[in-house]
């Protein structure tokens, strides 16, 4: 209760701060000018997904900002967010919508529904939004300015996570279900011509803009592979089973395994090192959300989806910067 009260008061304080700062625009609706967007997926079919916002100096959180700005609930299962210069695209999996909001006000600009079929993840390239689908082996493409549907790109398998590099777009075939294919999309023609095979089930992918890093795992080992253009450059076997998250930040990769956060050079020439173990909170569903932004490590314990998630932000040495309660099932952190 105290915590909730604190965050409410803190939130109110934050608003008043940003509104009285002379350097900032006078538009009082522009509450979100620097910080981290948080996606809370909610319970499947309960329609209790929310978005949160952590301010730039990581001191306060504002929960359910979609409702604050739009007066209605966000929807059912907030799977992913894509933040661009102007907009936040919120991929609403079971609502079958992509909610486009103004980045600074979080006011709804448009709701994309055309050809949206259980959307999972999205990426932006050349002013186009590429969205994967849970049920269909396809990527749907939308214009990021007009939000008009452009086309459907057929794939060989259904895809989950999708990232864009300088040359290509990569869609990874299903997580936790044995998918081993990385489908390569040419953004000039918007066609899928080549697939890259990974020798274990893909758990996660990340990119530094040039290469794609693929985390794959089985019950005994985990591996990270570097994919460049259409082929695997190298694969490093890690000494942990079931590594789960993968983030590319500066020249390093960060991943999680068990309760540990690990770091490895992104050329995979060195061994990985453990940064720290998360403080033993709820023993289940830790690291449901994970990211490294501006050198801070963001973690979210989804508390078994029975309670509000707990966000803990760490420094690399394991020092806790701050802790917040967010919404149900916090699954992602996105830089403003």
């Amino acid at each position: 209760m105290k915590k909730i009260l604190f965050s409410v008061l803190a939130g109110a304080f934050f608003f008043s701060c940003s509104n009285t700062n002379d350097d900032l625009p006078v538009n009082t609706d522009e509450k979100y000018l620097d910080g981290i967007f948080v996606s809370n997926e909610g319970n499947f079919t309960k329609g209790n997904a929310t978005s949160s916002f952590i301010n730039g100096n990581l001191s306060t959180i504002t929960n359910d900002i979609f409702k604050l700005s739009n007066g209605r609930s966000l929807g059912d299962v907030s799977q992913h967010m894509v933040v661009t210069d102007k907009y936040v695209f919120i991929i609403m999996n079971n609502s079958n919508t992509i909610e486009v909001v103004n980045k600074k006000t979080f006011k709804l600009v448009y709701t994309i529904t055309q050809n949206v079929s259980s959307p999972r993840f999205a990426t932006v390239k050349n002013n186009k939004l590429y969205v994967t689908s849970l049920f269909n082996a396809e990527v749907n493409v939308y214009n990021t300015d007009t939000f008009a549907f452009i086309k459907t790109i057929n794939l060989n398998h259904t895809a989950e996570q999708i990232v864009a590099t300088d040359n290509y777009i990569y869609a990874a075939n299903g997580f936790y279900s044995g998918g081993t294919t990385l489908e390569v999309i040419n953004p000039e023609t918007d066609t899928n011509t080549t697939d890259v095979n990974i020798n274990q089930a893909i758990n996660n992918i990340a990119t530094n803009g040039q290469n794609v890093f693929v985390l794959s795992a089985n019950d005994t080992t985990s591996s990270i592979s570097i994919v460049s253009n259409n082929s695997v450059l190298t694969t490093k076997v890690l000494n942990q089973p079931i590594a789960r998250n993968l983030v590319s930040y500066t020249n390093y990769l960060y991943y999680t395994a068990g309760t540990g956060v690990y770091k490895i050079n992104n050329d995979l020439t060195t061994e990985s090192s453990k940064l720290f173990n998360v403080a033993d909170g709820d023993e289940y569903s830790i690291f449901y959300g994970f990211n490294v932004i501006n050198g801070s490590i963001f973690t979210a314990d989804a508390k078994g989806f029975a309670d509000n998630s707990k966000i803990v932000i760490y420094k690399e040495n394991g020092t806790i910067i701050n802790e917040f309660n967010a919404g149900i099932g916090t699954n992602g952190f996105y830089k403003f």
């Binding site: 309960k46 609403m92 789960r244």
Partner: protein, 612 residues
């Protein structure tokens, strides 16, 4: 604390309370269940919802029980999956018995109260409190008994009813009963259908994809071979097709199909001091879930249970009675396009009960039960109780250890099913007091339940969810019932009320269980003049939490619903005709029992009931 106590007292005495709960004196009509319920449970409270109450209700079984009992139901939208929190327990901790045989889903452990054709039953008996020694797994919060009655030497009686209501809701129900000296027959069938496309008040949209349709058919027959031997056979079929109402307009559309087939044969043998009931039953359940309409993509599961049971009742003396029960149950189940592999479960159970009546008004009873199974560690259960009866005051005290076994999904689902699960077990004590003076009845139950090893599905580090024994819960609760009646000339007036208070506290977090209101209250006034009656009623459900930490922002607000029922009886020489008009949620209150799933506003239903 003072506030709470005051609130309790105020509620009991200042507010004249609820509802057409016809407590109890009709137990003798329940032919088959009579022995177990009335003879062996003198230390536990019973609530009988009789045939006229059942006949004149419309809507779902959830509507019926929500209004007439203290049990709280959460519904995934109107007409959708509905599960009870009986005395602050979970859905799997309420056992539903069909003519004495447990029919909770073997796959899910719970009964869906919107997939139960309650109009098929001649009476419904609610027995709050633990009953695992008598009724087995799931009898933790309480048991709900769906009973058919068979009558010998009875002329043909027919009952036909139609109802039509808002949202294109239609229902038909027909029942015929007849009997000879040696034979008794019942046959009944019905269907219910609704577009269920009500307006979401203030949201500028309708309830989408909420349509449902169900049919049911059943018959019962009894044959009396001689004075000592009687055979009875019960058969019931239920099929439904329910779309799941959408939370958001473009949500993936889904639907659910349920099929239940139940057959039960009983052989009663009795002589002066001995009664033996042998039962054999076959219970089949299956479901199909269509996960992305309009495609045919679906998954499902089925389970068939074969049960044999022998119950013996022996009166050693007029005051000393014994009974024993042997039971064998085999359940086979498997999934279809889902991750439930074939599994075969055997359960053998035996129990022994005794009761001793010290005087006409005072006695005690006790019971023991043990169970052997290939699926989980067997629990040892007990119960004990005393009762005291006098003209104006009755006291019942009962204590018991109860359990609910892991379901097929809990044990066998791949991945996540856990073969190392223990049954959830509970210890409880229950004190029931009844006061009656002339036309006034006041009933108060207070109870304490301590539950451990609650089974919960939780995410694991490797990304899938797994069933585990996690939480322990303490429930402190009380139920109150009040009724006063007055008749003068052609007038009839009745006030009644139900109130339940449940503090279901998770021992680890010290917070209230989710989807379990602390307070539920209902009250009803019935005024009748000759063949006309009007009955306004009010039901209040307190705030419920949807997160284990009870965060206020995720709590669903309390709500109060006002209904008004009108009835006109038109008696003719050949038949009785009733016209019922029901106005529901007359104040157009917006409410939800699940996040973001709005319930109907003001709506009506007209029902015609004929008996000939």
């Amino acid at each position: 604390m003072y506030k709470k106590t005051f609130f309790l007292i105020a509620t009991c005495f200042l507010v004249f309370a609820a509802n057409a709960q016809n407590t109890s004196t009709q137990l003798d009509e329940i032919i088959i269940e009579k022995n177990k319920i009335s003879t062996l449970s003198k230390s536990q409270k019973l609530i009988v919802l009789n045939d006229s109450l059942i006949n004149h209700s419309v809507g779902t079984f959830t509507d019926f029980l929500q209004k007439n009992t203290t049990i709280y139901f959460k519904e995934n939208g109107y007409g959708m999956v509905s599960s009870p929190a009986f005395r602050g327990t979970t859905a799997q901790q309420t056992s539903v018995l069909w003519n004495g045989v447990k029919i909770n889903s073997a796959l899910l452990g719970q009964s869906d109260f919107n997939a139960t054709a309650f109009k098929n039953f001649d009476n419904i008996v609610i027995k709050p409190g633990g009953g695992s020694v008598l009724y087995g797994s799931g009898a933790v919060g309480g048991t709900i008994h769906l009973n058919n009655e068979l009558h010998f030497t009875q002329k043909l009686k027919n009952e036909l009813q139609f109802n039509y209501g808002s949202f294109n809701t239609k229902g038909l129900h027909y029942k015929a009963t007849t009997g000879t000296t040696n034979w008794a027959f019942n046959v009944h069938f019905g269907f219910n259908k609704s577009a269920n496309d009500f307006e979401w008040i203030g949201k500028n949209r309708k309830n989408l994809n909420g349509a449902y349709y169900n049919t049911n058919f059943g018959f019962e027959t009894a044959y009396k071979i001689n004075k000592k031997n009687t055979f009875t056979f019960y058969s019931s079929t239920y099929n439904d097709d329910r779309h799941f109402a959408l939370v958001t307009p473009f949500q993936t559309k889904t639907k659910y199909q349920n099929n239940n087939y139940r057959n039960l044969l009983k052989w009663n043998f009795k002589n002066e001091n001995f009664l033996n009931i042998f039962s054999a039953a076959s219970i089949y359940e299956s479901y199909l879930f269509y996960d992305k309409l309009p495609s045919e993509s679906n998954s499902g599961g089925k389970a068939s249970t074969f049960l044999i049971k022998n119950e013996s009742y022996y009166n050693a003396t007029n005051s000393l009675k014994f009974s024993s029960k042997l039971e064998y149950q085999q359940t086979k189940g498997n999934g279809k396009n889902s991750n439930l592999p074939y599994a075969n479960q055997h359960i053998f159970a035996t129990s022994l009960l005794g009761s001793y009546q010290i005087s006409n008004c005072f006695g005690f009873e006790t019971g023991l039960k043990t169970e052997f199974t290939n699926a989980y560690s067997n629990p040892f259960l007990y119960s004990g109780g005393i009762y005291f009866n006098s003209k104006n005051y009755q006291l019942k005290i009962n204590t018991s250890k109860n359990y609910r076994i892991p379901t097929f999904n809990d044990l066998y689902w791949q991945p996540g099913g856990n073969l190392n699960l223990k049954p959830e077990t509970s210890f409880q004590i229950d004190i029931n007091q009844n006061f009656n003076y002339k036309a006034i009845t006041f009933n108060a139950s207070t109870y304490y339940i301590s539950l451990k090893d609650m089974i919960r599905w939780i995410p694991t580090a490797s990304g899938f969810w797994e069933a585990n024994n996690t939480d322990a819960v303490t429930i402190k609760g009380a139920e109150f019932y009040f009724n006063i009646q007055k008749k003068w000339l052609h007038n009839y007036l009745q006030f009644s009320g139900n109130y339940a208070h449940n503090q279901s506290t998770n021992k680890k977090t010290n917070t209230q269980l989710t989807y379990t209101p602390k307070n539920k209250f209902s009250t009803q006034v019935l005024y009748g003049y000759k063949n006309f009656s009007v009955s306004p009623s009010f039901m209040f459900v307190g705030k419920i939490y949807t997160t284990t930490s009870n965060s206020q922002e995720s709590a669903l607000a309390s709500y109060g619903i006002v209904d008004i029922d009108f009835q006109q009886k038109i008696p003719t020489k050949k038949l009785s005709l009733y016209i019922n008009l029901k106005l529901k949620n007359v104040t157009n209150t917006t409410y939800t029992t699940m996040p973001e799933q709005q319930m109907p506003g003001r709506n009506f239903n007209i029902q015609i009931v004929t008996k000939f």
